[in-house]
């Protein structure tokens, strides 16, 4: 396995080597290859952002020729489908995307500056949770995961969601990340009943429980949660083994109900940063092209077949990195 410190920016020669010797058009996932004519492509040739936009390819051979000749710093492709992609005109639909960037996730047990094995693995855990909810709650099935080089893209292509607007996407994001504390008091005919989120093993309360569990288990003494002071944080860390065993009632009792409320409020407000919501609501976004090279970190943007076992340091490292002296 390659160490993170070897993953320095790729030189123009290494890019050439990658696209001409290692890269294969077959590595582009079918969900993109089959709709290549309907998508916009964008390229960054010098490392200053994708300013070569509105590119269109009639077939994969033409894209192959372009990449082998130009060996770009970065390559992107739209999540949107157009009738006239060259002008980004006549939008027909767009994938629903969740972008989990390891360097931006709000709770990281590592303290690295950029990304490292630890936070990349934490990004992977978050992605697993998102996929579970997309399948279990929203009933979505056509889900693809792409390792982007610094995190993951979850790309959903079910017909149910590809035509929904930004407002619906924004609500989906809030549901998926657990951005709001669920109600815990309900009125019946003659009484009020109280159900904390953790006693409801389905629906949104269950999603929220899973997200809170993840966050609490990843907090450390330097973590920063709204309205949670050092003393409370210390108590949360002390009693969190109870949560590992799903002993929520006991955990809440140990912390105290009012302080527990502060903790879950703090986590809910932080959860919106689990994904980059701007990406999810953007109907015309371009995303890094799977199979292309992330030249800044010398890693391959790769479609992930099995997220449970995926290891970017084994499966997304181009050959030229092993040849570096």
């Amino acid at each position: 396995m390659v160490k993170i410190e070897y993953l320095t920016p790729a030189s123009p020669e290494e890019r050439k080597k990658y696209y001409r010797e290692e890269w294969d058009i077959k590595q582009i996932p079918d969900f993109i290859a089959h709709s290549i004519q309907e998508r916009e492509f964008g390229f960054d040739h010098v490392g200053r952002g994708p300013n070569d936009r509105y590119k269109v390819f009639r077939n994969t051979d033409l894209l192959k020729r372009f990449l082998k000749v130009r060996t770009p710093f970065a390559a992107y492709c739209s999540v949107a489908y157009y009738d006239k992609p060259r002008r980004r005109d006549k939008w027909t639909k767009a994938e629903l995307v969740f972008d989990v960037d390891a360097k931006d996730i709000p709770i990281r047990t590592c303290e690295c500056e950029g990304v490292c094995e630890i936070c990349l693995n934490e990004a992977r855990e978050i992605v697993c949770g998102i996929i579970d909810t997309l399948k279990q709650d929203l009933g979505l099935k056509n889900i693809h995961i792409v390792y982007s080089g610094r995190g993951y893209h979850v790309r959903v292509l079910d017909d149910d969601v590809t035509q929904v607007n930004s407002d619906v996407r924004s609500q989906i994001v809030k549901y998926i990340v657990g951005a709001e504390v669920p109600e815990n008091e309900y009125s019946l005919d003659y009484e009020k009943v109280s159900y904390e989120h953790f006693v409801i093993p389905f629906g949104y309360p269950n999603v929220f429980t899973e997200r809170v569990k993840y966050s609490i288990l990843h907090l450390n003494e330097h973590s920063n949660l709204d309205e949670v002071n050092k003393k409370l944080l210390k108590d949360v860390l002390k009693y969190r083994p109870l949560i590992e065993d799903n002993n929520w009632g006991m955990f809440k009792n140990k912390i105290g109900p009012l302080r527990y409320k502060k903790v879950v409020n703090g986590i809910a407000s932080m959860n919106m940063s689990l994904v980059d919501a701007k990406v999810s609501i953007d109907l015309k976004r371009i995303l890094r092209l799977p199979s292309s090279l992330h030249s800044m970190v010398s890693m391959k943007c790769t479609e992930v077949k099995n997220i449970e076992t995926f290891d970017p340091f084994k499966e997304a490292v181009p050959k030229f990195v092993y040849e570096r002296k």
Binding site: G139, Q171, I172, V173, Y186, V193, G203
Partner: protein, 447 residues
Amino acid sequence: MVSVAFINPLSDEGEIIVRELGDFGRVLSDNDDLMQIVTGSRSQEISNDSFIPRNYVDLAIKRIEWFVKKKNDRNFDNNQYDFLFNTEILKFDVIAFYLLCQAVGVKYGPNSRESRVMVESQGKLIEYRLEKLSKNVREELVTNILNSLISSTHIKWTFFEDLISSKKLKLQDLILDQGEIILDKEDFLERFSHKIHGRKPEKMYEALIGDRIKELVMIKMVMQNTENYILKVGEKSDREIEPNPILLELADKISDVLAASVRSYGIGGSYSGSVKASALNPKAFPPCVKKVMEGMKSGGRNDAIIMFLTPFISYARLYPSVFSENITKQISDIDPSLSIVENEVLPLIFGAAERCTPPLFEDQPQDKVNLNAKLGFGMHQKPDLKNEGETIWYTPMSCEKVKIHLPSLCKPDENCKKIGNPLSYYNMMIWKVRKEAKTESTTDNNE
């Protein structure tokens, strides 16, 4: 049995009532039957003639008046509007509903304040009408209406795409499983009973779904259909040359009711109608704006200063009532010489940019052009009247958008619960400050 049309005027029963109306001109004629039902309503206040609608158009106005006053008037007396809850008024009420939708549709369209009030008032009216029914009647009615609105027992969540998009329903309000919304008790028990431990699944169903969610879904669907109907009327009227003058007159009256509410109560909860452009008071800024004013760290700087702060400061200073007036303006309409922009607006924004780490315009000087563009002065270094209109003067981001684009900024305080836009927060606080100052000066004078 209460008619479905009493709750959902857009139902088949409602349409039959409309078809039976006959001559449209009748809507302005005094109607003895209507007045008899009104005065015969159990708790109806009849001490003043103005409490009693004399015809269909009067009744339509009363519907809006009820909603606006109930929402804003502390001394609101429901007995003045008791007839709205008398089921005998059905036929008149349905016609009044259609008159309102058509008047709003032809004159203001679906995105207007009038349309929002009409849709919200229908939702509230349904809620209060249901409350006055017995449990059994209420349950039966809700089930009947839901069955007519939803044909399948397996409802995909995407069926409610419109409701979710317009935020009438939140996904979190619903119990979802495998892409379906669970409303039916047997379905719930079959799917979840085995997962529930230590609690009665039946009771959990009643609490989490039961009548509450069924009613919520039904009400929101009727509201959405009302909005869609207004949209349809608006589109149709665009194609027709001359709208009926009765509808135009009614539309003006609706607008008058809303304008009167702005004068009396400071607009339906948003306060912005009563706030005029005046010098900025940073103490009234919402927490998110205060945070940006302190300076941002690298990463969120551009969006925070350019996309968020620039529209907020410029509108708060120059056009705080933008959302209630709903009229597009340019900065020069309010500040013809641009002296306020130069002396009050830009210094605040530049100050916040300077406090960023690193200072925003030091390493990203091109963002001055972006800032200028957000004020409507095109892609240029400084605001200049000759370039005005090349770009749009961006309106302030809503709280919803702040949460998406700049989640780290949103640290709500108690006052945030009542508002949906940082500008509304500012207007509300300014309104409160002025009210308190007025009270204090009155007290001083009395002393």
